[in-house]
Protein backbone atom coordinates (compact mmCIF):
# COMPACT_ATOMS: atom_id res chain seq x y z
CA UNK A 1 0.00 0.00 0.00
CA UNK A 2 2.66 2.49 1.04
CA UNK A 3 4.81 1.67 -1.97
CA UNK A 4 1.75 2.29 -4.14
CA UNK A 5 1.34 5.60 -2.41
CA UNK A 6 4.98 6.45 -3.01
CA UNK A 7 4.65 5.54 -6.69
CA UNK A 8 1.61 7.74 -7.16
CA UNK A 9 3.39 10.63 -5.42
CA UNK A 10 6.42 10.11 -7.59
CA UNK A 11 4.19 10.14 -10.68
CA UNK A 12 2.42 13.24 -9.43
CA UNK A 13 5.74 15.08 -9.12
CA UNK A 14 6.90 13.78 -12.47
CA UNK A 15 3.74 15.12 -14.14
CA UNK A 16 4.21 18.47 -12.46
CA UNK A 17 7.76 18.71 -13.75
CA UNK A 18 6.55 17.75 -17.22
CA UNK A 19 3.77 20.37 -17.18
CA UNK A 20 6.11 23.00 -15.75
CA UNK A 21 8.78 22.42 -18.38
CA UNK A 22 6.20 22.58 -21.16
CA UNK A 23 4.75 25.80 -19.73
CA UNK A 24 8.16 27.44 -19.42
CA UNK A 25 9.16 26.57 -22.98
CA UNK A 26 5.86 27.88 -24.35
CA UNK A 27 6.13 31.11 -22.37
CA UNK A 28 9.69 31.61 -23.64
CA UNK A 29 8.42 31.03 -27.17
CA UNK A 30 5.65 33.62 -26.74
CA UNK A 31 7.99 36.13 -25.10
CA UNK A 32 10.69 35.72 -27.70
CA UNK A 33 8.32 35.99 -30.65
CA UNK A 34 6.75 39.10 -29.08
CA UNK A 35 10.16 40.68 -28.51
CA UNK A 36 11.08 40.07 -32.14
CA UNK A 37 8.00 41.94 -33.37
CA UNK A 38 8.69 44.93 -31.12
CA UNK A 39 12.32 45.00 -32.24
CA UNK A 40 11.39 44.76 -35.92
CA UNK A 41 8.60 47.33 -35.98
CA UNK A 42 9.98 49.93 -33.58
CA UNK A 43 13.74 49.52 -33.92
CA UNK A 44 14.07 47.84 -37.33
CA UNK A 45 16.37 45.24 -35.86
CA UNK A 46 16.11 41.75 -34.40
CA UNK A 47 17.97 39.03 -32.56
CA UNK A 48 19.90 36.99 -35.09
CA UNK A 49 19.64 33.73 -33.16
CA UNK A 50 15.96 34.11 -32.27
CA UNK A 51 14.42 32.65 -35.43
CA UNK A 52 16.20 29.33 -35.44
CA UNK A 53 15.85 29.16 -31.66
CA UNK A 54 12.07 29.66 -31.84
CA UNK A 55 11.76 27.04 -34.56
CA UNK A 56 13.56 24.58 -32.28
CA UNK A 57 11.24 25.61 -29.45
CA UNK A 58 8.25 24.76 -31.64
CA UNK A 59 9.66 21.28 -32.14
CA UNK A 60 10.43 20.87 -28.43
CA UNK A 61 7.01 22.02 -27.25
CA UNK A 62 5.39 19.90 -29.96
CA UNK A 63 7.26 16.79 -28.84
CA UNK A 64 6.50 17.42 -25.16
CA UNK A 65 2.87 18.01 -26.13
CA UNK A 66 2.85 14.71 -28.00
CA UNK A 67 4.29 13.03 -24.90
CA UNK A 68 1.55 14.61 -22.78
CA UNK A 69 -1.07 13.49 -25.31
CA UNK A 70 -0.14 9.87 -24.65
CA UNK A 71 -1.06 10.29 -20.99
CA UNK A 72 -4.57 11.56 -21.87
CA UNK A 73 -5.17 9.22 -24.84
CA UNK A 74 -5.46 12.30 -27.03
CA UNK A 75 -3.47 11.09 -30.02
CA UNK A 76 -5.39 11.33 -33.25
CA UNK A 77 -6.79 7.94 -34.17
CA UNK A 78 -9.76 6.35 -35.86
CA UNK A 79 -11.69 5.17 -32.86
CA UNK A 80 -14.79 4.20 -34.83
CA UNK A 81 -14.66 0.49 -34.25
CA UNK A 82 -13.52 0.71 -30.63
CA UNK A 83 -16.80 2.36 -29.69
CA UNK A 84 -18.72 -0.76 -30.66
CA UNK A 85 -16.45 -3.36 -29.07
CA UNK A 86 -17.30 -5.21 -25.87
CA UNK A 87 -15.26 -3.94 -22.88
CA UNK A 88 -13.00 -6.99 -22.94
CA UNK A 89 -12.30 -6.66 -26.64
CA UNK A 90 -11.65 -2.95 -26.08
CA UNK A 91 -8.88 -3.75 -23.63
CA UNK A 92 -7.39 -6.21 -26.08
CA UNK A 93 -7.56 -3.57 -28.82
CA UNK A 94 -5.78 -1.07 -26.57
CA UNK A 95 -3.08 -3.59 -25.81
CA UNK A 96 -2.42 -4.24 -29.49
CA UNK A 97 -2.65 -0.67 -30.81
CA UNK A 98 -0.78 1.08 -28.01
CA UNK A 99 1.81 -1.70 -28.00
CA UNK A 100 2.28 -1.05 -31.71
CA UNK A 101 2.69 2.68 -31.03
CA UNK A 102 5.23 1.89 -28.28
CA UNK A 103 7.27 -0.19 -30.73
CA UNK A 104 7.24 2.54 -33.36
CA UNK A 105 8.29 5.16 -30.81
CA UNK A 106 11.09 2.92 -29.60
CA UNK A 107 12.29 2.52 -33.19
CA UNK A 108 12.19 6.30 -33.69
CA UNK A 109 14.12 6.82 -30.44
CA UNK A 110 16.77 4.52 -31.86
CA UNK A 111 16.92 6.28 -35.24
CA UNK A 112 16.82 9.65 -33.50
CA UNK A 113 19.87 8.61 -31.51
CA UNK A 114 21.50 7.77 -34.82
CA UNK A 115 20.80 11.28 -36.10
CA UNK A 116 22.21 12.85 -32.93
CA UNK A 117 25.31 10.65 -33.18
CA UNK A 118 25.94 11.73 -36.78
CA UNK A 119 25.65 15.43 -35.99
CA UNK A 120 27.71 15.04 -32.83
CA UNK A 121 30.54 13.46 -34.83
CA UNK A 122 30.29 16.19 -37.49
CA UNK A 123 30.24 18.89 -34.83
CA UNK A 124 33.29 17.39 -33.20
CA UNK A 125 35.12 17.49 -36.51
CA UNK A 126 34.11 21.01 -37.55
CA UNK A 127 34.82 22.52 -34.12
CA UNK A 128 38.26 20.97 -33.96
CA UNK A 129 37.51 18.38 -31.31
CA UNK A 130 35.63 20.65 -28.89
CA UNK A 131 32.98 18.67 -27.01
CA UNK A 132 31.01 21.84 -26.28
CA UNK A 133 30.92 22.67 -29.97
CA UNK A 134 29.82 19.14 -30.81
CA UNK A 135 27.06 19.23 -28.19
CA UNK A 136 25.87 22.55 -29.55
CA UNK A 137 25.60 21.01 -33.02
CA UNK A 138 23.28 18.25 -31.88
CA UNK A 139 21.47 19.75 -28.88
CA UNK A 140 18.28 20.91 -30.64
CA UNK A 141 17.61 17.51 -32.21
CA UNK A 142 18.33 15.62 -29.00
CA UNK A 143 14.65 16.08 -28.13
CA UNK A 144 13.83 13.43 -30.76
CA UNK A 145 15.40 10.39 -29.05
CA UNK A 146 14.47 11.67 -25.58
CA UNK A 147 10.81 12.36 -26.35
CA UNK A 148 10.31 9.25 -28.50
CA UNK A 149 11.97 7.13 -25.81
CA UNK A 150 9.67 8.49 -23.12
CA UNK A 151 6.66 8.11 -25.42
CA UNK A 152 7.55 4.46 -26.01
CA UNK A 153 7.66 3.92 -22.26
CA UNK A 154 4.41 5.73 -21.65
CA UNK A 155 2.59 3.97 -24.50
CA UNK A 156 3.72 0.63 -23.07
CA UNK A 157 2.31 1.59 -19.65
CA UNK A 158 -0.91 3.05 -21.11
CA UNK A 159 -1.54 -0.17 -23.03
CA UNK A 160 -2.45 -1.82 -19.73
CA UNK A 161 -4.34 1.14 -18.25
CA UNK A 162 -8.04 1.91 -18.72
CA UNK A 163 -8.83 4.63 -21.30
CA UNK A 164 -8.65 8.22 -20.08
CA UNK A 165 -11.73 10.39 -20.35
CA UNK A 166 -10.38 13.89 -19.96
CA UNK A 167 -12.82 16.79 -20.34
CA UNK A 168 -12.51 19.10 -23.35
CA UNK A 169 -12.19 22.20 -21.18
CA UNK A 170 -10.82 22.65 -17.67
CA UNK A 171 -13.24 25.44 -16.73
CA UNK A 172 -16.36 23.87 -18.08
CA UNK A 173 -19.14 26.46 -18.19
CA UNK A 174 -21.55 23.69 -17.23
CA UNK A 175 -23.73 21.24 -19.03
CA UNK A 176 -26.19 22.69 -21.51
CA UNK A 177 -28.56 19.79 -21.11
CA UNK A 178 -31.99 21.04 -20.01
Amino acid sequence: MSSEHATSRFLHHLHRIENGLLAILVLVLVGLAGTQIVLRIFFETGLAWADSFSRSLVLWTGMLGALAAVRDDKHIALDVLQRFLAPRAQYAARLVTLGFAALLCAAMAWYGTGLVAIDYAEGLQSSGGSVVGALRACFAESILPVAFGLMALRFALRAFAPPAHAPVLLHDPGSAAP
Binding site: R55, G65, A69, I76, L78, T97, F100, M108, Y111
Partner: protein, 425 residues
Protein backbone atom coordinates in the same frame (compact mmCIF):
# COMPACT_ATOMS: atom_id res chain seq x y z
CA UNK B 1 3.89 -9.92 -48.35
CA UNK B 2 2.89 -6.36 -49.20
CA UNK B 3 -0.78 -7.28 -49.11
CA UNK B 4 -0.30 -8.85 -45.68
CA UNK B 5 1.41 -5.69 -44.40
CA UNK B 6 -1.38 -3.51 -45.75
CA UNK B 7 -3.98 -5.75 -44.12
CA UNK B 8 -2.18 -5.57 -40.76
CA UNK B 9 -1.89 -1.78 -40.92
CA UNK B 10 -5.55 -1.41 -41.92
CA UNK B 11 -6.59 -3.63 -39.04
CA UNK B 12 -4.47 -1.63 -36.60
CA UNK B 13 -6.00 1.58 -37.97
CA UNK B 14 -9.52 0.23 -37.54
CA UNK B 15 -8.77 -0.85 -33.99
CA UNK B 16 -7.72 2.70 -33.15
CA UNK B 17 -3.92 2.76 -33.40
CA UNK B 18 -2.55 6.32 -33.24
CA UNK B 19 -2.39 7.77 -36.73
CA UNK B 20 1.21 8.97 -36.41
CA UNK B 21 2.38 5.44 -35.60
CA UNK B 22 0.70 4.11 -38.75
CA UNK B 23 2.30 6.79 -40.91
CA UNK B 24 5.65 6.22 -39.22
CA UNK B 25 5.38 2.50 -39.95
CA UNK B 26 4.64 3.13 -43.63
CA UNK B 27 7.47 5.66 -43.88
CA UNK B 28 9.97 3.32 -42.20
CA UNK B 29 8.93 0.40 -44.42
CA UNK B 30 9.03 2.59 -47.51
CA UNK B 31 12.47 4.03 -46.78
CA UNK B 32 13.69 0.55 -45.97
CA UNK B 33 12.39 -0.77 -49.29
CA UNK B 34 14.17 2.11 -51.06
CA UNK B 35 17.41 1.02 -49.38
CA UNK B 36 17.60 3.89 -46.88
CA UNK B 37 18.04 3.55 -43.14
CA UNK B 38 15.47 4.65 -40.58
CA UNK B 39 17.74 7.54 -39.67
CA UNK B 40 16.56 9.16 -42.91
CA UNK B 41 13.02 9.18 -41.49
CA UNK B 42 14.36 10.93 -38.36
CA UNK B 43 16.08 13.50 -40.60
CA UNK B 44 12.84 14.13 -42.50
CA UNK B 45 10.95 14.39 -39.21
CA UNK B 46 13.48 16.93 -37.98
CA UNK B 47 12.49 19.22 -40.87
CA UNK B 48 9.69 20.29 -38.50
CA UNK B 49 12.30 22.57 -36.92
CA UNK B 50 12.92 24.19 -40.29
CA UNK B 51 9.48 25.55 -41.16
CA UNK B 52 9.09 29.21 -40.19
CA UNK B 53 5.32 29.28 -40.79
CA UNK B 54 4.81 26.48 -38.27
CA UNK B 55 5.35 28.76 -35.28
CA UNK B 56 1.90 30.29 -35.84
CA UNK B 57 0.25 27.00 -34.89
CA UNK B 58 1.26 26.70 -31.20
CA UNK B 59 0.83 30.44 -30.68
CA UNK B 60 -2.70 30.73 -32.09
CA UNK B 61 -3.72 27.51 -30.35
CA UNK B 62 -2.48 28.82 -27.02
CA UNK B 63 -4.39 32.08 -27.50
CA UNK B 64 -7.53 30.15 -28.42
CA UNK B 65 -7.36 27.87 -25.37
CA UNK B 66 -6.72 30.79 -23.04
CA UNK B 67 -9.77 32.57 -24.46
CA UNK B 68 -11.87 29.41 -24.21
CA UNK B 69 -10.95 28.90 -20.55
CA UNK B 70 -11.67 32.53 -19.64
CA UNK B 71 -15.04 34.31 -19.57
CA UNK B 72 -14.52 35.51 -23.14
CA UNK B 73 -17.20 33.19 -24.62
CA UNK B 74 -19.84 34.72 -22.33
CA UNK B 75 -18.76 38.26 -23.22
CA UNK B 76 -18.70 37.44 -26.91
CA UNK B 77 -22.28 36.16 -26.76
CA UNK B 78 -23.41 39.22 -24.80
CA UNK B 79 -21.83 41.60 -27.29
CA UNK B 80 -23.10 39.89 -30.45
CA UNK B 81 -26.52 39.67 -28.81
CA UNK B 82 -26.52 43.40 -28.09
CA UNK B 83 -25.55 44.10 -31.70
CA UNK B 84 -27.64 41.57 -33.65
CA UNK B 85 -30.12 40.15 -31.15
CA UNK B 86 -32.96 42.39 -32.33
CA UNK B 87 -32.93 41.03 -35.91
CA UNK B 88 -35.54 38.42 -36.85
CA UNK B 89 -33.87 35.16 -35.86
CA UNK B 90 -31.45 37.35 -33.97
CA UNK B 91 -30.30 34.89 -31.35
CA UNK B 92 -29.69 32.22 -33.99
CA UNK B 93 -27.60 34.71 -35.98
CA UNK B 94 -25.77 35.59 -32.78
CA UNK B 95 -24.97 31.90 -32.32
CA UNK B 96 -23.65 31.62 -35.86
CA UNK B 97 -21.43 34.71 -35.60
CA UNK B 98 -20.11 33.94 -32.12
CA UNK B 99 -19.25 30.34 -33.04
CA UNK B 100 -17.56 31.46 -36.26
CA UNK B 101 -15.33 33.97 -34.50
CA UNK B 102 -14.52 31.53 -31.75
CA UNK B 103 -13.58 28.62 -34.01
CA UNK B 104 -11.50 30.95 -36.14
CA UNK B 105 -9.37 31.68 -33.08
CA UNK B 106 -9.23 28.23 -31.50
CA UNK B 107 -9.20 26.13 -34.67
CA UNK B 108 -10.79 23.46 -32.50
CA UNK B 109 -14.43 22.97 -33.41
CA UNK B 110 -15.16 20.70 -30.46
CA UNK B 111 -13.97 23.35 -28.01
CA UNK B 112 -16.37 25.87 -29.55
CA UNK B 113 -19.21 23.41 -29.25
CA UNK B 114 -18.47 22.81 -25.57
CA UNK B 115 -17.65 26.38 -24.55
CA UNK B 116 -20.35 28.25 -26.48
CA UNK B 117 -22.93 25.48 -26.57
CA UNK B 118 -23.28 25.73 -22.80
CA UNK B 119 -24.20 29.41 -23.06
CA UNK B 120 -26.15 29.44 -26.31
CA UNK B 121 -28.34 26.35 -26.06
CA UNK B 122 -30.27 27.44 -22.94
CA UNK B 123 -30.60 30.94 -24.41
CA UNK B 124 -32.02 29.64 -27.69
CA UNK B 125 -34.50 27.41 -25.89
CA UNK B 126 -35.56 30.26 -23.63
CA UNK B 127 -36.24 32.41 -26.68
CA UNK B 128 -38.59 29.59 -27.81
CA UNK B 129 -36.51 28.31 -30.69
CA UNK B 130 -37.53 24.69 -31.41
CA UNK B 131 -35.31 22.13 -29.74
CA UNK B 132 -34.48 20.39 -32.98
CA UNK B 133 -33.47 23.60 -34.73
CA UNK B 134 -31.33 24.72 -31.78
CA UNK B 135 -29.45 21.41 -31.59
CA UNK B 136 -28.78 21.32 -35.32
CA UNK B 137 -27.78 24.95 -35.50
CA UNK B 138 -25.21 24.69 -32.71
CA UNK B 139 -23.81 21.37 -33.90
CA UNK B 140 -23.21 22.81 -37.36
CA UNK B 141 -22.05 26.25 -36.16
CA UNK B 142 -19.28 24.63 -34.13
CA UNK B 143 -17.24 24.06 -37.25
CA UNK B 144 -18.01 27.36 -38.98
CA UNK B 145 -15.03 29.66 -38.91
CA UNK B 146 -12.47 27.16 -40.17
CA UNK B 147 -12.18 29.39 -43.25
CA UNK B 148 -11.75 32.61 -41.31
CA UNK B 149 -8.53 34.30 -40.19
CA UNK B 150 -6.54 33.07 -38.22
CA UNK B 151 -7.86 29.51 -38.52
CA UNK B 152 -5.19 26.98 -37.66
CA UNK B 153 -6.26 24.34 -40.24
CA UNK B 154 -5.86 26.98 -42.93
CA UNK B 155 -2.30 27.68 -41.72
CA UNK B 156 -1.64 23.94 -41.69
CA UNK B 157 -2.82 23.64 -45.30
CA UNK B 158 -0.44 26.45 -46.23
CA UNK B 159 2.49 24.83 -44.42
CA UNK B 160 1.93 21.49 -46.14
CA UNK B 161 1.22 23.01 -49.57
CA UNK B 162 4.30 25.25 -49.48
CA UNK B 163 6.50 22.19 -49.75
CA UNK B 164 5.41 21.80 -53.34
CA UNK B 165 6.61 25.25 -54.48
CA UNK B 166 3.59 25.73 -56.69
CA UNK B 167 3.06 28.59 -59.09
CA UNK B 168 1.24 30.64 -57.98
CA UNK B 169 2.63 30.06 -54.47
CA UNK B 170 0.38 29.24 -51.52
CA UNK B 171 1.09 32.12 -49.15
CA UNK B 172 -0.64 31.92 -45.79
CA UNK B 173 -2.02 35.44 -46.10
CA UNK B 174 -3.40 34.58 -49.55
CA UNK B 175 -5.30 31.70 -47.92
CA UNK B 176 -6.60 34.06 -45.26
CA UNK B 177 -7.89 36.44 -47.91
CA UNK B 178 -9.38 33.60 -49.94
CA UNK B 179 -11.35 32.23 -47.00
CA UNK B 180 -13.17 35.45 -46.22
CA UNK B 181 -15.95 35.48 -48.85
CA UNK B 182 -16.71 31.73 -48.71
CA UNK B 183 -17.01 32.00 -44.94
CA UNK B 184 -19.35 34.97 -45.32
CA UNK B 185 -21.42 32.97 -47.81
CA UNK B 186 -21.99 30.24 -45.23
CA UNK B 187 -22.83 32.74 -42.52
CA UNK B 188 -25.34 34.52 -44.76
CA UNK B 189 -27.00 31.31 -45.95
CA UNK B 190 -27.37 29.97 -42.41
CA UNK B 191 -28.57 33.35 -41.12
CA UNK B 192 -31.26 33.59 -43.81
CA UNK B 193 -32.45 30.09 -42.99
CA UNK B 194 -32.50 30.96 -39.28
CA UNK B 195 -34.47 34.15 -39.88
CA UNK B 196 -36.98 32.15 -41.89
CA UNK B 197 -37.24 29.46 -39.22
CA UNK B 198 -37.78 32.12 -36.54
CA UNK B 199 -40.50 33.96 -38.47
CA UNK B 200 -43.23 32.71 -36.10
CA UNK B 201 -41.33 33.57 -32.92
CA UNK B 202 -41.96 36.74 -30.96
CA UNK B 203 -39.66 39.42 -32.32
CA UNK B 204 -37.06 40.31 -29.69
CA UNK B 205 -36.98 43.88 -28.48
CA UNK B 206 -34.42 46.27 -29.79
CA UNK B 207 -31.42 46.38 -27.45
CA UNK B 208 -31.12 49.55 -25.43
CA UNK B 209 -28.17 51.81 -26.16
CA UNK B 210 -27.10 51.36 -22.59
CA UNK B 211 -26.82 47.58 -22.99
CA UNK B 212 -24.85 47.95 -26.23
CA UNK B 213 -22.46 50.29 -24.48
CA UNK B 214 -22.20 48.04 -21.41
CA UNK B 215 -21.53 44.97 -23.58
CA UNK B 216 -18.88 46.89 -25.51
CA UNK B 217 -17.20 47.96 -22.30
CA UNK B 218 -17.45 44.44 -20.92
CA UNK B 219 -15.58 43.08 -23.94
CA UNK B 220 -13.21 46.03 -24.22
CA UNK B 221 -10.06 43.96 -23.74
CA UNK B 222 -10.97 41.33 -26.33
CA UNK B 223 -12.44 43.77 -28.82
CA UNK B 224 -9.16 44.91 -30.42
CA UNK B 225 -8.06 41.32 -31.13
CA UNK B 226 -9.95 40.50 -34.33
CA UNK B 227 -9.20 43.94 -35.70
CA UNK B 228 -5.47 43.78 -34.98
CA UNK B 229 -5.23 40.31 -36.48
CA UNK B 230 -7.39 41.12 -39.52
CA UNK B 231 -5.83 44.52 -40.17
CA UNK B 232 -2.30 43.29 -39.50
CA UNK B 233 -2.57 40.35 -41.87
CA UNK B 234 -4.69 41.92 -44.59
CA UNK B 235 -2.52 45.03 -44.74
CA UNK B 236 0.63 42.93 -44.95
CA UNK B 237 2.13 44.64 -41.89
CA UNK B 238 2.25 41.40 -39.92
CA UNK B 239 3.19 37.94 -41.16
CA UNK B 240 0.89 35.15 -39.96
CA UNK B 241 3.49 34.02 -37.43
CA UNK B 242 3.88 37.57 -36.09
CA UNK B 243 0.13 38.04 -35.80
CA UNK B 244 0.09 34.77 -33.87
CA UNK B 245 2.83 35.95 -31.52
CA UNK B 246 1.11 39.29 -30.91
CA UNK B 247 -2.21 37.56 -30.26
CA UNK B 248 -0.74 34.99 -27.87
CA UNK B 249 1.18 37.58 -25.90
CA UNK B 250 -1.80 39.93 -25.70
CA UNK B 251 -4.27 37.23 -24.67
CA UNK B 252 -1.83 35.88 -22.10
CA UNK B 253 -1.43 39.29 -20.48
CA UNK B 254 -5.16 40.07 -20.54
CA UNK B 255 -6.51 36.76 -19.22
CA UNK B 256 -3.80 36.05 -16.66
CA UNK B 257 -2.50 39.42 -15.50
CA UNK B 258 -5.28 41.94 -16.15
CA UNK B 259 -8.59 40.07 -15.93
CA UNK B 260 -7.11 37.24 -13.84
CA UNK B 261 -9.73 34.78 -15.08
CA UNK B 262 -7.06 32.13 -15.33
CA UNK B 263 -5.07 32.07 -12.13
CA UNK B 264 -1.31 31.79 -12.42
CA UNK B 265 -1.12 28.31 -10.81
CA UNK B 266 -3.65 27.06 -13.38
CA UNK B 267 -1.69 28.39 -16.33
CA UNK B 268 0.56 25.33 -16.81
CA UNK B 269 -2.52 23.11 -17.12
CA UNK B 270 -4.13 25.34 -19.73
CA UNK B 271 -0.85 25.52 -21.65
CA UNK B 272 -0.61 21.76 -21.46
CA UNK B 273 -4.11 21.31 -22.90
CA UNK B 274 -3.25 23.55 -25.84
CA UNK B 275 0.11 21.91 -26.49
CA UNK B 276 -1.47 18.49 -26.34
CA UNK B 277 -3.44 19.35 -29.45
CA UNK B 278 -0.41 20.94 -31.10
CA UNK B 279 1.80 17.95 -30.28
CA UNK B 280 -0.75 15.49 -31.61
CA UNK B 281 -0.83 17.41 -34.89
CA UNK B 282 2.89 18.11 -35.27
CA UNK B 283 3.88 14.50 -34.76
CA UNK B 284 1.55 13.43 -37.56
CA UNK B 285 2.94 16.24 -39.70
CA UNK B 286 6.53 15.21 -38.99
CA UNK B 287 6.08 11.66 -40.20
CA UNK B 288 4.01 12.75 -43.13
CA UNK B 289 6.97 14.91 -44.26
CA UNK B 290 8.94 11.68 -44.57
CA UNK B 291 6.05 9.88 -46.22
CA UNK B 292 5.49 12.71 -48.70
CA UNK B 293 9.12 12.62 -49.74
CA UNK B 294 8.90 8.91 -50.32
CA UNK B 295 5.65 9.27 -52.30
CA UNK B 296 7.17 11.94 -54.54
CA UNK B 297 10.34 9.89 -55.08
CA UNK B 298 8.10 7.05 -56.12
CA UNK B 299 6.15 9.34 -58.50
CA UNK B 300 2.95 8.33 -56.76
CA UNK B 301 1.03 11.58 -57.46
CA UNK B 302 1.96 11.34 -61.17
CA UNK B 303 0.79 7.76 -61.35
CA UNK B 304 -2.37 8.62 -59.49
CA UNK B 305 -3.03 11.37 -62.02
CA UNK B 306 -2.42 8.96 -64.92
CA UNK B 307 -4.93 6.49 -63.47
CA UNK B 308 -7.51 9.18 -62.78
CA UNK B 309 -7.11 10.83 -66.15
CA UNK B 310 -8.26 7.62 -67.80
CA UNK B 311 -11.60 7.91 -66.02
CA UNK B 312 -12.02 11.63 -65.43
CA UNK B 313 -10.91 14.17 -67.98
CA UNK B 314 -12.66 17.33 -66.78
CA UNK B 315 -11.87 19.64 -63.92
CA UNK B 316 -15.50 19.52 -62.82
CA UNK B 317 -15.51 15.74 -62.65
CA UNK B 318 -12.33 15.80 -60.61
CA UNK B 319 -13.71 18.36 -58.18
CA UNK B 320 -16.95 16.41 -57.76
CA UNK B 321 -15.00 13.29 -56.87
CA UNK B 322 -12.78 15.35 -54.58
CA UNK B 323 -15.81 16.68 -52.70
CA UNK B 324 -17.15 13.22 -51.97
CA UNK B 325 -13.71 11.97 -51.00
CA UNK B 326 -13.02 14.87 -48.64
CA UNK B 327 -16.38 14.57 -46.91
CA UNK B 328 -15.68 10.95 -46.03
CA UNK B 329 -12.12 11.63 -44.94
CA UNK B 330 -13.16 14.68 -42.95
CA UNK B 331 -15.69 12.53 -41.13
CA UNK B 332 -13.21 9.77 -40.35
CA UNK B 333 -10.20 11.86 -39.47
CA UNK B 334 -11.37 15.32 -38.39
CA UNK B 335 -9.81 18.29 -40.12
CA UNK B 336 -6.14 18.38 -39.25
CA UNK B 337 -4.92 14.89 -40.09
CA UNK B 338 -7.01 14.84 -43.24
CA UNK B 339 -5.14 17.94 -44.44
CA UNK B 340 -1.74 16.55 -43.52
CA UNK B 341 -2.31 13.23 -45.24
CA UNK B 342 -4.36 14.20 -48.27
CA UNK B 343 -2.81 17.47 -49.43
CA UNK B 344 0.47 15.86 -50.60
CA UNK B 345 -1.50 13.40 -52.72
CA UNK B 346 -4.27 15.64 -53.96
CA UNK B 347 -2.41 18.91 -54.59
CA UNK B 348 -0.16 17.67 -57.45
CA UNK B 349 -3.11 15.96 -59.12
CA UNK B 350 -5.31 19.04 -58.71
CA UNK B 351 -2.63 21.21 -60.33
CA UNK B 352 -2.74 18.96 -63.39
CA UNK B 353 -6.48 19.52 -63.61
CA UNK B 354 -5.86 23.27 -63.50
CA UNK B 355 -7.17 23.91 -59.99
CA UNK B 356 -5.64 26.95 -58.26
CA UNK B 357 -3.75 25.77 -55.14
CA UNK B 358 -5.23 28.53 -52.97
CA UNK B 359 -8.76 27.69 -54.17
CA UNK B 360 -8.00 24.04 -53.45
CA UNK B 361 -7.23 24.96 -49.83
CA UNK B 362 -10.62 26.59 -49.44
CA UNK B 363 -12.33 23.58 -51.03
CA UNK B 364 -10.46 21.30 -48.63
CA UNK B 365 -11.49 23.19 -45.54
CA UNK B 366 -15.09 23.76 -46.65
CA UNK B 367 -15.54 20.02 -47.14
CA UNK B 368 -13.75 19.01 -43.97
CA UNK B 369 -15.91 21.46 -42.07
CA UNK B 370 -19.01 19.42 -42.98
CA UNK B 371 -17.20 16.12 -42.51
CA UNK B 372 -16.53 16.96 -38.87
CA UNK B 373 -20.23 16.62 -38.01
CA UNK B 374 -21.23 14.18 -40.75
CA UNK B 375 -22.94 10.91 -39.75
CA UNK B 376 -22.29 8.23 -38.82
CA UNK B 377 -18.99 8.98 -37.09
CA UNK B 378 -18.20 12.71 -37.39
CA UNK B 379 -16.53 13.72 -34.12
CA UNK B 380 -18.77 16.71 -33.36
CA UNK B 381 -21.90 14.57 -33.34
CA UNK B 382 -20.57 12.81 -30.27
CA UNK B 383 -19.31 16.00 -28.64
CA UNK B 384 -22.72 17.62 -29.19
CA UNK B 385 -24.44 14.50 -27.91
CA UNK B 386 -22.44 14.65 -24.67
CA UNK B 387 -22.80 18.40 -24.35
CA UNK B 388 -26.57 18.60 -24.89
CA UNK B 389 -27.41 15.27 -23.28
CA UNK B 390 -29.16 13.91 -26.37
CA UNK B 391 -28.53 10.63 -28.21
CA UNK B 392 -26.35 10.88 -31.31
CA UNK B 393 -29.31 9.95 -33.52
CA UNK B 394 -31.26 13.03 -32.35
CA UNK B 395 -28.27 15.23 -33.12
CA UNK B 396 -27.98 13.77 -36.62
CA UNK B 397 -31.70 14.21 -37.30
CA UNK B 398 -31.55 17.79 -36.05
CA UNK B 399 -28.59 18.53 -38.30
CA UNK B 400 -30.19 17.30 -41.54
CA UNK B 401 -31.27 20.69 -42.95
CA UNK B 402 -27.87 22.11 -42.07
CA UNK B 403 -26.05 19.43 -44.03
CA UNK B 404 -28.13 20.37 -47.04
CA UNK B 405 -27.46 24.10 -46.66
CA UNK B 406 -23.73 23.72 -46.13
CA UNK B 407 -23.43 21.23 -49.00
CA UNK B 408 -25.04 23.84 -51.20
CA UNK B 409 -22.42 26.36 -50.03
CA UNK B 410 -19.62 23.87 -50.66
CA UNK B 411 -20.83 23.28 -54.20
CA UNK B 412 -20.91 27.03 -54.84
CA UNK B 413 -17.43 27.44 -53.35
CA UNK B 414 -16.07 24.54 -55.38
CA UNK B 415 -17.44 25.49 -58.77
CA UNK B 416 -17.05 29.24 -58.48
CA UNK B 417 -13.31 29.83 -57.94
CA UNK B 418 -13.84 33.58 -58.25
CA UNK B 419 -15.54 33.66 -54.86
CA UNK B 420 -12.33 32.46 -53.21
CA UNK B 421 -9.85 34.18 -55.49
CA UNK B 422 -11.49 37.59 -55.90
CA UNK B 423 -9.57 39.10 -52.98
CA UNK B 424 -6.34 37.26 -53.75
CA UNK B 425 -5.45 37.72 -57.41
Amino acid sequence: MIILLIAVLLLLAALGAPLFALIAAIALLGFNAAGQSGTAVAIEFYRLADMPALIAIPLFTLAGYLLAESQAPRRLVRLTNALFGWLPGGLAIVSICACTLFTAFTGATGVTLVALGAVLYPALRQAQYPERFSLGLLTCSGSLGLLLVPSMPLILYGVVAQQFHTTPPVAIDALFKAGLLPCLLMIVVLSLYSAWMARGLPRPERTSRREVWAALKDAAWELPLPFVVLAGIYSGKLAASEAAAATALYVLIVTVLIRREIRLPELPRVIREAMLLVGAILIVLGFSLALTNWLIDGDVPERLFAVMKAGIDSKIGFLLLLNAFLLVFGMLLEGFPAIIILVPLVLPVALHYGVDPVHLGIIFLANLQIGIFLPPVGMNIFIASARFGRPATSIIRASLPFYALLMLCVLIITYWPGLSLALVR
